[in-house]
Amino acid sequence: MPETGLDNPALHTDTMSMPVVGTLPPPHLPTPLRLAMLLRCLAIQGSWNYEILVGNGMGFCIEPALRQLPGGPDGPAYKDALARQSVYFNAHPYLASLAVGALARVELEQVPATRIERFRTALCGPLGSLGDRLVWAAWLPACSLVALLLFGFGWSALGVVAGFLILYNVGHFGLRDWGLRAGWQCGLRVASAMGHPVLQHGPRYIGLVSAVLGGLALPLAVHRAIGGQAPLSPIPMGVAVATPLLAVLLVRLQGRAEGWRVVLLMLAVFVLYSVVR
């Protein structure tokens, strides 16, 4: 199993030596507050920069919760907490909501600052790794393959795009919302939420489904894209033979012939051919 950083001790409660704040039963998360944080999570990368990455975004997302600290938005607790939450942070943008929920709760329960900082630092690595595996390497390609399959089945361009966007965003918004709730629910025990089966085993199962989708979509989409000619005529047969050969060649030349270079070369050949002709 790839390294996820879940073994970091700061992600687990050490109830023997530390106060139990942040691990008590979760306080009620009012719906307006949850929606405000969820909405802000959509803009978490709005102030992304090379220095603190999504640090500003984290502060922005947690800010509605911090207003409930003693003294309100003008109090020192609010200012300290906002400053603490706006420093360097790195996570997958969708799974950052898990950190937002957990950190909002520990701030409102006024866990000692040093412990919050340690906890915050420990969250960075695992959330990036889990999110990349689940979303960029599994969910996004699977949704793209579904769209390709819809195209192969003869859906219109609008239907294909709408199908992709709806399916992808069901997962996207679902993950963000789950993350916020789970983070709030777990607080300092957030490692248990990160051990959720969907996060741990989801990429593998989505990969298997993608293999099925890819196998089905490829012949159907290619057949439609080349004009729906009879499968045994020369052009479809040529495509069927050349595709696997070229794919194997690309794999063998890995590092020397990336896909974009080959496509660019082929486009250049087409342009030259049309000029010379």
């Binding site: 993608s210 293999a211 099925v212 490829l218 159907l220 080349i226 009879a230 052009i235 495509v239 690309l250």
Partner: protein, 51 residues
């Protein structure tokens, strides 16, 4: 060069690049290759049946 042929070349290229990209999955996840080959056969049959 005919329109059909130039389109076929581009599609071949795109499909090959896509197939090469999923190669990583074939090696990372057990059973992916078999599933892909079986569903590829089913997809091809669907094309043949629909033609």
């Amino acid at each position: 060069m005919s329109e059909d042929l130039s389109r076929a070349i581009i599609i071949t290229l795109v499909a090959a690049v896509a197939a090469a990209a999923v190669w990583k999955d074939f090696h990372a996840i057990n059973g992916t290759r078999r599933l892909f080959v079986v569903s590829l056969a089913v997809g091809t049959l669907l094309v043949m049946a629909g033609a």
